[in-house]
Structure formats: structure tokens, C-alpha cells
Symmetry: C2
Subunit: 960 residues, 2 copies
């Protein structure tokens, strides 16, 4: 019954040629196009066209078995016959005839697999008008079933209708219920050549034509540099055979059946590669309607309503089988997804060939980012080393460490603490210099320009990839509405009873208002939660600090600061990691509530929310440390208190930069280590184990060997999109650029992380996950916008870090306005104001005023205020205002100069590499030329036959 179509196909094949060569092992004719020569493929094609009659016979048998699957109770065989085939056949994704490739797999629940049936498979096209299906055979059984699983029945009917519609579209299908995995039915889909051609035309897929042209290697010097670079980087290139001859490229043109003669169709099997085939099928699946449920359109709604459980294309083959034919997946596994080749370039072309453009772009982007981090890391290390080298020449820290400058500081806390000598802050001051020196300013500017360069470099790389991948001119079509959206729309139209004009119903703002309000309230609430957490950590630190100060053990006290800082940072880190997951879940929930129309807008909204929440989560503690800590403390005698009696935190003498640095370091390292190890390696492994545990353990070993490709892939994790990967990288990019002025080693840490990250992701994609549907993409979309936004924010944040968090501006102002000799000598003294200890608020004076061994009359504190003996005691001094003005001026100058420089760099570097634009132009001309020639050929042929252009030829005679 359903086998007719197989006969059909076979008959079609037969038409071409009946020679029937090669009866066995025809699987080998189905190799993926990993480098067949022209002639060879010609030969193969012939073979493919001529499917031997035996094969047809198998199909016929098969089809009988298939028809049984729909009418339970009939006997079934076929499995043995299959097992006689070479074992490898299971690794390859083919229909049971071994001929037709499985381009896509849908799975669904089979609730009660009757134990009698071991394996049911049928290949279809299903027939139309199967109205008899609901009330079929054996009425008793049916009645029983009806009660138990009406729902199940309904879903099966929908499936049947959907499959009929797919059939209508020309797809060929094969069902496989009750396999080794109980409760799961597989629908294997194959797209025949006709369908592929038709869809490729609709999708305007650019395919390589026969016409080749030389890619000019660039003139003179450029060419030599290129050659040299190629030689130098040769050992860094992955060992992937590139079919194309260098310096030559096939002209590509949107596929069109009317222009078939342009394309090299000698090998129809490899003309569309596996990722293209599956994306074509997916396109059809998305488009095909299921009229049983009026509002439902496409596979996504069917997946949403549980009619099908999973939908995935198949991997090319196995990785670990030693004897397996070489396939792209295996090559990727060996030449990409391995830590041992971390120093090599990625085989981007192959990644794109296997996973599609979107994934290809992600890895290309990650590669570019990692590569660009190398110079940043080098410069960062140099800047850090410069700090180390100059620490002994640094006058302010020398002055602090100089015991002769006998400066008595005011107590750090009320009552419990006493006066202290500045010289005890010597260590911190010296450490601070490592991150707070003149080179830091340079590094901040460098990193701002670096970010711009990175963006530009990426744009160019993207353009180049677009050209190589024939994506120029590709326009992203708006996708179909999501199932949830359609469902909501249907509910709305039902409520309004607008059934005649149901096509026009859509969700308006009013419908979405509750969701929007929830989102806004929720987002604000979550931001407040983040702030509250930070404040909580601050309180923890303050209270612990006070408590520790209270205790009288001296060893305790000496380690107080370090302990509190470190524990505070670790607590922050743990909270960040936990909240990251929580926020991710909340963002998803909020987006689902919003019911966006298309997948694209769903993705964008989700990314936007996740980004805001995760970003706030990661950066609030850091922003607090950089800009608020130590600002709101008041002054001796008039401190600011929170929660009753806690004084706000002060910074160590040499600025908060040091603490900011520790926090950044711990956050970056900890986040990356924990998230990488736990979330990216640990959890997927765990999930896989759980998924496989559902099956009997004893059979597992045996099963693994006999599983078919689609069954194996079923055990892999579903592909959940690139967003988590991107998000992680964006947060890291933020760490690298936003506060780079305070932590020049950030790029180095990021670099180390990314080198591992690339291979980790690669492993995940190749071995752990199902193959993603190849999505065409021209760019990385919203992520680029976010990167751009971040690099803009980075400029202003760094300006503020340098001018407000670091002591750069006060030093500069002192040196040029107040210093008697133009050096920094006396700077420390200049930054300290005087306080008359008799003016402490009652009850806040130190309990042990004689702690230092002498009676203190005036203590010093870090601020610019008038001394007690001036007309305006404790008012902000003229120096304060002058330095404040200088700080602000620096911010303005820094921000605008860096922005101008960035814009200039942006403008200077063309978005499209010169050679690529030349190439594109050339290609365009070649196409016109090609058609022009064709045109003239046609004309000439016409001239031979048509009478109209005759006078053209008769002209010579009329001359004279």
C-alpha cells in the first residue's frame, strides 16, 4: 500500500538505465561528498540511477511490512533480512532500502507497544482520505483503546494527516515503531531530488556553477605577504582536505531548475550536502499545515502540542568506529574537537559544511575573539609587569612605607579600633601600584581601540565568510509564527467569535499588556534583588569586620582585611553563579509569558532579558566596588551610618582599585572554572546517563552495537541553540573591556578560558548533541549589537574608573598644580586632611586612645577638606573642587577622544575587505558575461532558423 511509492521511485530509477551493476554493498555508493573526483562521481551517478531490481524487491517486501504497522495484528518480518547487511549500514543514515538518505527524523510517543511486534517499519507516501482510520478493524479493541487513549488517538490522527500533507509535498517517509527504544516511534523522512531542486529554488540557495574563475591573489606586496603568512601559519592549519583548488572559486548562482545546465549535476547525491538536505526538509516541515487543528501550522506547533516529541536531522556517521568510512563528523572530531590541537586554527569551512552557517559563524566569531585576545593579553601582561617593575620607584608608596613620615591616621571603626600608623598600609599601597599606574591609562585607551578593532576585524571576517560561503545577497526571511502565538490568537478569536475573519486576528498591545506589566515589574524587582544581594554582602563584610575588630586576638586582627575581602568575594561569586541560573530561568518564563510572534522575536526578547539580568547580576558587585565603596563614608566626627550603627566600608589607603581587582579576578576565574566544569561538562554527561538508564542496563552494551543511526542520535542531547554560548562570551567580553583599567590581566584569563572553551564546545557539538538544523545566517545578529553597546559603555566606565577609582587624577593635579618641585614628593601628605580628635561624636572615640603609645591630638584621614583651624573647618577644600573638576574634565576628554578614535578606526577600516569587494564585483560581471554569451548563442541559433533577424546577414550585400 505505502510501498507503491517505493515501487514508484524504483521505477523512476529504472527508467534511466537498467544495467543493474553492483547488487550488494550499494551503501558504499552513498558516500558523502568528501572529495570524489569529477569522473568518479559521474560513474557513481550512473549507478545510482540504475537501482537493480533486487532492491526494488526488498522495497516491496518492506512495504508490506509497513502496511502492517498501521493495521495491528498482522505478522511482520524483515528484521533478519536487514541484519544480514554489512553492519556499517546502521551507522549510515539510510532508509531500509539502503538507498534513500534519511534527511530528517521525527519521533513520537508509542504508548503501548504490543509485545508481539518487535519492529515495525513502513515506508510511505501515505494515502489521502484515510477517513476510515479512526474506526478501524477489531471494534472491541478500538472501543477499549478509545476510552484509554483518546488523546493518543487524536495525536495519531494529526500525525497521519500531517504525514499525508508531507507526502503531498513530495517527501518520502518510512516509519519505525517499536524499535529497541521502547515507547518511541521514528518517522524517517527523505527528500527526493525533485523536491530538493524545487525547494532550493524557492529558498534561493546559491549553488556553485560549473564556471570557475581565478581568485586574484592580490597585487605584488599583498600577495607576497599572503604567501609568507600562509607558510608561517601552515602548521597551525587543521588537516582538513579542501576540495577546492586554491586561487579558484566556483561562480555561484541561486539554484534554478530553468538554469540547470549551469550547475554540475553529475553527482546528484552530493550536489546538495547533508546539512542542506535536512534544512530543506525542515523548511517543508515548517510550512506544511495540519488542517485537523485549524490554527496549527508546521512542525513547531506539532512539537509544541506533543504530537511529535522530537525533530532532528541525523549525524553523518560515527566517530569512534575505527573501521567507519571517513565522514565529516569524524574529521571534525579528529581535527577540531580535540584539546591536543588547541593551538590550531579551526576548520571553519568544514564546520559550516557540517553544521550550517549559523554555527559556523559562532565558531568563527569565537576564533576571531580568541585570536584578538592574544595581543590584548600580551599588552595586559606587559602593563602588569611595568607595574611590578616600577613598584620600587613609586614615590607615593615609598612615602607611605617610609617610617620617618610619622603619620597618625584616624581609627577605621568606632570605639573598637584605635589610631593607626600609615606605614602599616605599606603592603597594600605597594600592591595597589601594580594596577594603578600611568600604564593603566594607556591600557584603557588601548583596550577601547582594541574593542573597536575587534568589531571591525570581525565585520571583515564575516564579510569574507559571507563571500566564501556564498551568502552575499542572502536575506533573512521572517519565520512563521510560533505555536504558542497561534494558540493564543486562536483563543482570542474564539472569544471574540470572529471566526469569519480569523485570519486578521492578532495579538495587540492590549492583549499583551498584562504580560508587559508583569515583565516590567518582575525585571525591576529582580534588579532590586540584585542590589539587595550586593548590599547584603556589604553588610556581611561590615559586620564581620566590626566583629573581628572587637575580638582581641592580635593574629586575627592582622589578617582581618584579607579574610573579609576574600570571603566577601567568594560569597559574591557563589551568589552570582546561583542567580545566573535562576535569572536565566526567569527570563525564559517571562518571554514565554509575552508570547512573541516569531521564533526570531522570541529569541531576541529572551536574549535581551537574559542579558540585562545576567549582566546586572555579574556586574553590580563590581560597580559597587568601583564607584560607591569608600565614597559615602562621611568624615571623622560625622560618619554615615547604615542599619543603625554600622559605618560604611572604607577603602584601603591607596584606593579601592586593589579590591576591585581582587573581586574581578575571583569572579572571572571562578565563574569560568565552575561554569565550564560543572555546567558544560558535568551536567550534560549526567543527563546522557539518565537518558540511557531508561533502557534496560543489561542490554545496553549489546544495544549500542546494533543501534541505528537515528536511534543513536536519539540518545544525544537536543541542540538548545547557541544563545547560552554567546551569552557566556558576552559577559566575559564585558569583564575584559569594562573594568580593564583596573585589571589588566583580564584578557589573559579570558584567552586561557577561550582556548579551552572552543574545544569544549566543539566536543559538545560533535559528540554530545544531536546535529542542529543548518540555519543560514549572514551575521551574528543581536550579539553584534550587544558587543557594540558593551564596547561603548566600556569607554565611559573605564573613564570613570581611571578618574574616580584610581588616584591617577589627584596625582596628576598635585604634580602640576601643587607640587613645589614638580614631583610627587609630598603627595601623600597632600591627600590627607586633619581632624581634631576632640571633635569625635560622643561614644565613637576609640576605646584605647593610647594604643600607639602616645597621646593623639590631631589624626589624619584621606579626603580633601579644610583643616580644623581654617575659617570653614571640614568643608571641602579648594583642592577638592579643583581635583573634582579635573576628574570630570578627564572623563569628558577620555570619553570623547576614545570615541572619536574608535569612530575613526571604524571609518578607516573598510567593512568589506578590498579583495573581497573586488572579487564580488568580478563575480557579478562574470555572471552578466555568462548570460550575455548564452544570449548571443541563443540569438545565433535563432538567426539560423528564424526569419526575423535575416536582414542582419543580408547587410553585406547592400553595402557599396
Amino acid at each position: 500500500m505505502k510501498g507503491d511509492d517505493d515501487v514508484n521511485t524504483a521505477m523512476k530509477d529504472e527508467e534511466a538505465d537498467g544495467s543493474g551493476e553492483k547488487l550488494l554493498g550499494f551503501n558504499s555508493t552513498e558516500e558523502q561528498p568528501s572529495g570524489p573526483g569529477g569522473q568518479d562521481s559521474m560513474w557513481r551517478n550512473e549507478k545510482y540511477e540504475s537501482v537493480p531490481l533486487d532492491v526494488k524487491g526488498i522495497d516491496e517486501d518492506n512495504s508490506k511490512g509497513t502496511s502492517d504497522s498501521l493495521y495491528p495484528g498482522t505478522a511482520l518480518r524483515k528484521t533478519q533480512q536487514l541484519d544480514e547487511r554489512p553492519k556499517d549500514s546502521k551507522l549510515w543514515p539510510y532508509f531500509q532500502d539502503g538507498q534513500r538518505r534519511i534527511d530528517y527524523v521525527l519521533t513520537y510517543h508509542v504508548q503501548k507497544p504490543p509485545s508481539t511486534r518487535k519492529q515495525k517499519s513502513h515506508s510511505c507516501c501515505l494515502r489521502r482520505k484515510r477517513t476510515s482510520s479512526p474506526s478501524r478493524a477489531d471494534p472491541e479493541l478500538a472501543a477499549q483503546e478509545q476510552r484509554l487513549d483518546y488523546h493518543e488517538d487524536d495525536q495519531r490522527l494529526r500525525r497521519e494527516e500531517f504525514e499525508e500533507n508531507l507526502c503531498e509535498m513530495g517527501l518520502e517517509m518510512e516509519k519505525d515503531e517499536g524499535t529497541k527504544i521502547p515507547g518511541v516511534g521514528f518517522l524517517k523522512i527523505h527528500a527526493p531530488w525533485e523536491v530538493l531542486c524545487r525547494e532550493a529554488e524557492f529558498m534561493k540557495l546559491k549553488m556553485p556553477t560549473i564556471k570557475k574563475y581565478e581568485v586574484s591573489p592580490g597585487s605584488g606586496i599583498a600577495e607576497k605577504v599572503n604567501m609568507f603568512m600562509q607558510k608561517v601559519t601552515a602548521p597551525l592549519q587543521p588537516k582538513v582536505v579542501d576540495c577546492q583548488v586554491e586561487n579558484e572559486k566556483h561562480l555561484s548562482y541561486p539554484f534554478s531548475r530553468e538554469k540547470q545546465h549551469l550547475f554540475d549535476l553529475s553527482d546528484r547525491n552530493s550536489f546538495f550536502d547533508s546539512k542542506t538536505r535536512s534544512s530543506i526538509v525542515y523548511e517543508i516541515l515548517k510550512r506544511t499545515k495540519c488542517t485537523r487543528a485549524k490554527y496549527i501550522m508546521g512542525i513547531s506547533s506539532l512539537l509544541g502540542s506533543g504530537v511529535y516529541t522530537e525533530a532532528y536531522p541525523l549525524h553523518d556517521g560515527d566517530i569512534d568506529c575505527v573501521h567507519a568510512e571517513p565522514n565529516d563528523r569524524k574529521i571534525l572530531y579528529e581535527e577540531w574537537a580535540s584539546y591536543s590541537i588547541f593551538y590550531k586554527y579551526q576548520p571553519i569551512g568544514l564546520i559550516r559544511k557540517y553544521f550550517g552557517e549559523k554555527v559556523g559563524l559562532y565558531f568563527a566569531w569565537l576564533g576571531v575573539y580568541t585570536q584578538m585576545l592574544i595581543p590584548a593579553a600580551v599588552v595586559g601582561v606587559i602593563v602588569f609587569l611595568y607595574g611590578c617593575a616600577t613598584v620600587d620607584d613609586n614615590i607615593p608608596s615609598m612615602e607611605i612605607c617610609d617610617e620617618r613620615n610619622n603619620i597618625t591616621m584616624c581609627p577605621m571603626c568606632d570605639r573598637a579600633c584605635s589610631y593607626w600608623k600609615l606605614v602599616t598600609a605599606c603592603g597594600t599601597a605597594r600592591a595597589s601600584h601594580l594596577f594603578d599606574n600611568a600604564a593603566t591609562v594607556f591600557f584603557a585607551i588601548f583596550m577601547a581601540l582594541w574593542a573597536t578593532m575587534f568589531m571591525e576585524h570581525w565585520k571583515r571576517r564575516q564579510m569574507r565568510l559571507n563571500y566564501i560561503w556564498d551568502m552575499t545577497g542572502f536575506e533573512d526571511a521572517e519565520s512563521h509564527p510560533r505555536a504558542e502565538y497561534e494558540f493564543r490568537v486562536m483563543k482570542k478569536s474564539l472569544k471574540k467569535e470572529q471566526s469569519p475573519k480569523s485570519g486578521n486576528v492578532k495579538l495587540t498591545c492590549t492583549d499583551r499588556m498584562p504580560a508587559y506589566m508583569t515583565i516590567i515589574v518582575m525585571m525591576i524587582f529582580l534588579i532590586f534583588v540584585t542590589l539587595a544581594i550586593v548590599f547584603g554582602v556589604v553588610l556581611y563584610r561590615v559586620s564581620i569586620m566590626t566583629a573581628l575588630h572587637m575580638s582581641s586576638t592580635p593574629t586575627f586582627r592582622s589578617n582581618i582585611r584579607a579574610t573579609v575581602k576574600t570571603t566577601g568575594a567568594v560569597i559574591n561569586l557563589i551568589i552570582i553563579i546561583i542567580m545566573d541560573e535562576v535569572y536565566g530561568a526567569i527570563a525564559r518564563w517571562l518571554t514565554i509569558m509575552e508570547v512573541p510572534k516569531t521564533d526570531k522575536s522570541f529569541e531576541e526578547r529572551l536574549i535581551f532579558k537574559t542579558f540585562i539580568l545576567k549582566f546586572a547580576n555579574a556586574f553590580t558587585p563590581i560597580v559597587y566596588l568601583a564607584f560607591f565603596r569608600g565614597r559615602l563614608i562621611g568624615r571623622p566626627g560625622k560618619y554615615i551610618y547604615v542599619m543603625g550603627s554600622y559605618r560604611m566600608e572604607e577603602c584601603a589607603h591607596a584606593g579601592c582599585l586593589m579590591e576591585l581587582c581582587i573581586q574581578l579576578c575571583i569572579t572571572m576565574l571562578g565563574k569560568q572554572l565552575i561554569q565550564n566544569n560543572l555546567f558544560e561538562i558535568g551536567i550534560p554527561k549526567l543527563k546522557k546517563l539518565l537518558r540511557q538508564r531508561k533502557i534496560d542496563k543489561k542490554h545496553q552494551e549489546e544495544l549500542n552495537k546494533t543501534l541505528h543511526r537515528h536511534e543513536k542520535d536519539h540518545f544525544l542531547g537536543p541542540f538548545v541553540g547557541l544563545n547560552p554560548e554567546y551569552m557566556e562570551m558576552i559577559i566575559q567580553f564585558g569583564m575584559v573591556t569594562l573594568f580593564v583599567a583596573s585589571f589588566p590581566l583580564a584578557p589573559l584569563f579570558a584567552l586561557l578560558n577561550n582556548v579551552i572553551e572552543i574545544r569544549l564546545d566543539a566536543k559538545k557539538f560533535v559528540t554530545e548533541l544531536r546535529r542542529p538544523i543548518a540555519v543560514r545566517a549572514k551575521d551574528i545578529g543581536i550579539w553584534y549589537t550587544l558587543l557594540r553597546g558593551l564596547s561603548k559603555v566600556a569607554v565611559i566606565v573605564n573613564a570613570f574608573v581611571i578618574s574616580f577609582t584610581s588616584d591617577f587624577i589627584p596625582r596628576l593635579v598635585y604634580q602640576y598644580m601643587y607640587s613645589p618641585d614638580g614631583t610627587l614628593h609630598g603627595f601623600v601628605n597632600h591627600t590627607l586632611s586633619y581632624f581634631n580628635v576632640s571633635q569625635f561624636q560622643p561614644g565613637t572615640e576609640p576605646l584605647e586612645p593610647l594604643h600607639l603609645g602616645y597621646r593623639v591630638e590631631v589624626c589624619r584621614y584621606k579626603d580633601y577638606r579644610d583643616p580644623p583651624w581654617s575659617d570653614t573647618p571640614y568643608e571641602f577644600s579648594r583642592e577638592f573642587w579643583a581635583i573634582l573638576a579635573a576628574r570630570f574634565a578627564f572623563v569628558i576628554v577620555f570619553q570623547n577622544v576614545v570615541m572619536l578614535m574608535s569612530d575613526f578606526v571604524d571609518w578607516l577600516i573598510p567593512d568589506i575587505p578590498k579583495d573581497i569587494s573586488v572579487q564580488i564585483h568580478k563575480e557579478r560581471n562574470l555572471i552578466v558575461e555568462l548570460f550575455m554569451k548564452e544570449e548571443q548563442g541563443k540569438k545565433y541559433r535563432n538567426t539560423m532558423s528564424d526569419p526575423s533577424p535575416q536582414p542582419l546577414r543580408s547587410r553585406p550585400s547592400s553595402q557599396a
Copy 2:
């Protein structure tokens, strides 16, 4: 000889149908597609196909005349016959057969028109292998000619070869030498249907298909608002008949001859409109090679080397003829290019239809800009009125005007001036308040957002136009190299003698280095010239001021300030206008020197240079006034002197804002009035007169009546591109946004100017200039970037104007930090420092110290400095630094808040209007559907005949 092709054409026509209806007046069948119905056009088409034999006869006659033109000495006739035709035929752009439309005209020099020949015309295709041409007929005459005009000969040969190549491409031509305009030969070009189709396919022109679809008017409220708006604006709409039914749009698809059935080809004449036809011909002209001069490609090189003198498409018809058939040009003249309908919308669709997308976009942009100026002007006026209304409540100016505050000010100039009372500055202070009040800050923010809104609005409008004009998906192809570039490349390759590989030669950086160096040096020099001019004007003002102060006439002295300010501003204006023209010429010269490769890059480089120079020219005086004037004056007793003894200018008491305002006002008004009147109206008229004066004056009247279309158009000015128009508007946009904080009336002035400008430009385009070649464009290109850049710069400039030029920040700081009662009382006193008159530098004390009638011991000056009796006399005071810090802080806050708001607005408003994106999506789906149906239709037909899908039908029987 050349006539053969006419025969050819005629014969082709004859093939279709020989009925030969309508012998006379066939011109009327050639109407432009201004609304013919379907049936009607069908009928016409038939008629067109059937050219009567008589017409062919005319052509044959004609061709004989033509062949003569190449072989001088033979007799000639034909003119009379032409004059017998209805007079209107001359207004229409047709070949002499009255059938074939002239799509393009090339003109060339005809050096010695033999008096015997009155009019020579021939229609061709020219023949190949005209090797005999150089050595032809009459050897004596030839020898003579050879000596005299070898150059002329060479050019004619090139023309002939070029024309042959054009013929090869399928174009049809007609020559017209020695017409009423002596010395000018015309080559009229017609593109037949075949060529049009072929080229339209290559150019991927999107054409409307037969398939219509309903444009959804939007849901519920949106629809009602739309309807209401349409009703309200109905009287503002131009009276242009729109052929399309509202709410319906033809689906468009790139034209393809294989899919001809999709298009409505019933009226082949109107399928491609005149602008498309001419742009198709232009495309061919650009591409066609002239192998005689190897390096030369396309018409632009031929124009460059003088082989042809002009190249232009023809206008549709006359404007002033009352009896003329209605044509697009006439409609445009009546419904667009008229001052009396200044309040109406522009008929953008028609403009685009007539002039092409690029011009259409310019006017659309200008319209949007003008429209957006309305709210800005209204708010600006309100802000100004607010200033007027609150002038009496303004405490600072009240204090200044209060005679009781007996404040003695330090002298304004050395020796000649004396002490003065602050109350005399009352008038200026009150006037200043008009432009310097709290509303100004609001207005600056408003205008920053306005600029963003404008950009966004334009982007959306552009997108909408792209959709309506079927430009979505259009990609701008890189154009051919310019003639100058090719010439330089040829020279280079000759030098290198790289003739075998001449294709690879290109201009490298090394070749261009001298030009680049010149450009950089020249640009820097010119910027310095601009600065020097400004400085010169400053010196003029200072010296005049001093001189006038010297004179003792009291009436003179009272008017001193006003006089000097006004004359200074006028001088500035005159210099700006003169230098504008100079800089324009220099920029062009520099760009030519640079030899850019393509027209596009030429244009971009030219625009860039012109923009920098003109911008610097227009804004340097204003920047000086806003930010430098009054800053660098020193203090009493220690003034800063320039050029020996001139003290730098001071501002009037209430800030420089007032003077900035006057300068802006004069520059804007004067520039627009003079440039509009003189350069845009006066000079073109003058040029036209000059051009026509070349012809005998007495015949002129008579000639005007009998001139053909292509001859009339010859007298019109050549189209020089839209860049001058855009540039003018960009500078104006700069005026409106950059210093808007100081001059809230700027948008009003701009609005008034633009309302006139639109109609002025319209008149120019419709009546004064030749028709421009229709250029497809998706956006306004580099101008958008410039606008964006300007609106970004505007934010920071306005931040600085508010914080530094106006007294806004000092007032604010005083009010919140120093004021005893929280009001501005005492503010004036607070801004004035004290100076001990005994500390004047010797020789600078006033000559008449007792001028005020009493002895002055301490005078006041506007600055924040410590008084003479403090510890640090005349040092900047604490208030100075506090206010400076506040100013800087304001700049940072303003800049970042406004930028953030702009970005937010940018992000909030989607670039593509919702309805358009829905429409585009719909259109895409419809196309897929259309093809899908076609597909199934094909399949069905195949099923009827092919054996392969047979099993599909046989399936029903196999069921059961």
C-alpha cells in the same frame, strides 16, 4: 546603407500584423502610460505591432538621406516631409518614424557643417568592419581634411566603432547632424523591446506582476487613525492621479524572460516607463567597450575624452504648451513645482517615476526634514516666547537693572575706557535672558531627541518607500572605473611596459602618494586659512572697537557695541559665502587629483572633502564665539594681549550667548537668502541665456517653436547631481542642531527656508535642467552617515554651550550651594570679583578715572577670583573650581543621558514599520505560493503525459 536596419525593424514589425491601420497621427499611439485601461492598451499594442508600410517608406527615404551624411557631396532632402507632420510630434521624443521612442541622446561636435546640407539624419544599426571609412571617396578632400582635423577624424572613428558596438548590443540609433543648432550632432538611441527585456533581467529590475494582493490597512485602531489622518490631510495631498487602487498592490518580482507569463505585457510600450528605458540604455552605454582605444570602457570615458560632448535622456514633453497631451513632466510642473502649493505634500511617487529613485529619495528626505522642522519650530518659538514672558521675573537681570545696586565695573579697554556702572548693561542682560533661560536646556535636550526622531522617522520612511518602490532586496552594484582612472592606469602600464598583463595593473598607494600628500597639506592649509580669517575678523572687531572708543563723540560710543557686532557678523557672512564657493572648487580639484577608481568613490571622497571644508568655513566663527571669546582675556591688571597691544574681546556682562545668537541669525538668514536667490535662481538663468545666445537671435523665436525635443533639452542645463542640494541642507541641519541651545529660533528659519527650497529645487529640476538619468538607490548613502555624525556632535556641542557659554550652571550652583535663601538674589554680586585699581599695570589705567563722578578704589569684573585682600589675591577661588566641576559634570551627564535617550529612542522605534514588515513577509509568502501553484499545475500536466508519476494515480486500486 544604415537604412537597412530601419527596413529591418520595419520588417520585424510587419511580421506581426499587416493591417496598417492609422496612417497619420500615429504619435498619439505612443502616449506615456498615464492611465490607459487594460483593453485599450491591448488594442494599442496591436496597432504598434503593425507599422504601416508607408512609415517604412519614410524610413527608407530617411535612410538614404542618412547614408549621404557619411559620404558628403550627395544631395539631401527629407526636412519638408517631416514638417508636414503634426507640430506636436516635435514635443514627443521619437525617431523620425514617429514610432520608436528616443531613450537617450548623445551629442558630439560637428566641426564644419557644410552649408549645402541643412539636415542630415540617419537611423542605423551601423555596420561592422567599416575599414574603408578613413580612406574614403574623394581623395583630395580627404587629404585636406586629414591635415586639418586629424583629431576630429579620430574622434569620429571612435564614435563609429562605439556605435557599431551599441548596434551589436541591439540598440537602434538615428543620427541628426547639422540641425538648427550648428556644430552639434545628435545621436538618438532607441532600445527595442528585446533589449529592454534582456537588460531588465540582468539588472534584476523588480517589475509588477499580474498578481495583486490586498494591503491590509492595519487592525482596529490603527486603521481608524489612518483613515482619519487621510481625511484630514486630504487637502494637503497633491492632485496626482494614482493609477493603483488603494489597498491593493501588484506583487513584484525581478523581471525574467522565462517567467514572462507573470507580468502584464499587454502594453509593451508602457511596461517599461521612460526613466527605466533610459537607465537601461545608459547601462548599456556604460558597459559597451570601444576597442579602438583599448583602455576605454563605456560612455563615461568617451565623454571624458571629448568623443561625445553630452549624454542625456529626454524629458517627457513640454510644460508650457497648452494643447500638449498631459505628460508626467507637465503634471509635475503643475502639482509640484509651484510656489502656490507650498503647503501641500509632494507627489513623491510621481517624482520617483519621472526622475528615478535617487532624486525621489532626495525630495522625500527634504520633505520629511521640512515636516519634522514644524514641531521643532513650534517648540523653539514657545521657548523663545517663554524667555520673553519671563524676562521681567528674571532676578539676575533685575539686579543688573536695579540702580540701587551701585556696582562699579572695571574699564572695558585700556586707557580710553573708564569705569562704568553695571546698570548700563541692563539692556543686554534682559536680551540675553531671551536665549539663556531654563527652557533652553530643555530645548537642547528636545532637539537632540528630535534629531534622533528625525533619523528614525526617515529610516522608516525610506523603508516604506523602498517597499512601495519595490527596492527591497536591491543591491548596489559597484560601478565601472572612471575614465580618468583608466587613463592613469594605462599610463602606468605603459611606463612599466607590462602590456601582456595590463589587466592586473592598478593604482597603488604609492602611485597615489603625491596626491594624498597634496590633499592632506592642502586641507590643513585651508583649515588654517579659515582660522586665520576668523582671527582676522576678531582683530578687525578689536581694533575698530578701540578706535571707536578713542573717538569722543558720545552718540558714537553708545552704539559702538551694536555696530561692531553687526558689521563683524556681516563680514563673516560675506567671507563664508565667498569661501564656500572657493572651497567647493578646491575640493573638486583635489578629488580629481586623487583619481578615485569609481564614480561612487569619487562622489564619496568629494563629498567628504567638501563637507569638511564647508563645515569648517561655516562653523569656525560660531565656535569661536561660543567657546573662546571672553575666555582668554586674563584679568584686570594682567590682561592678555594679542598683536602687541590689542586686548582680547570680552563678552557683554550676561555671557556671550547673545552675540552667538546674533551671529547665528545673520549667518543663517543671509546665507540662505543670498545662496538661494543668487546661486540657485540667478546663475542658472544667466547660464541658460548665455547658452541660447550662441544661436542667432533673430531666429531664436522661430526656432523655439520648431525645435525638436532633444534639441530643446540640449539648451537646458546639465544635471550636476544632488550633492550641492544635500550639502546645503546638511549645513543647515548643522545650524539647526549644533547650536540650537543658543538660538531656539533656528528651526523656524530653517523651516521657512525649506518650504521655499523644495519648490525652488522642483522648478529647477522640472524646467531648468535636463532630465537626470534615473539611478536606483535604496538610501541616501553617505548623507545619512553625515547627518548621524552631526546629530551626535550636536549633543556634545550643546552640552558645552549650555554649561560653558550660558550662565545656566553658575546660576544653578549659586542657587543650591551659596544662596542664603535658595533664590538667585545676590547672584550678580556673586559672579563679580574685586579688583584693587591701584594694581593696574602701568600705562593701562583709565585716562578719565573720575568719569563716573567719584573716585573708584575697587572695581568689579566678571570672574571667580579671590579678592585682593585674601591670602591668595586674584587666584581662582573655591567657587570657580566648584562651578567648573559642576560645568564638567553637567557635560558628562547631559551627553550620556541624551545619548542614552537617543539610543533608547533608536531602539524603541523599529527601523522597518510594522505594517511594511508584515507586508513584505506576506509578499514573500505569496510568491512562494504562486510558484507552488505553478509547480502543481505543471505536475498535473506532467501526470497527464509522463509515465513516471503514474503510480500516484494507481495507488487507490492498491488499497484494501
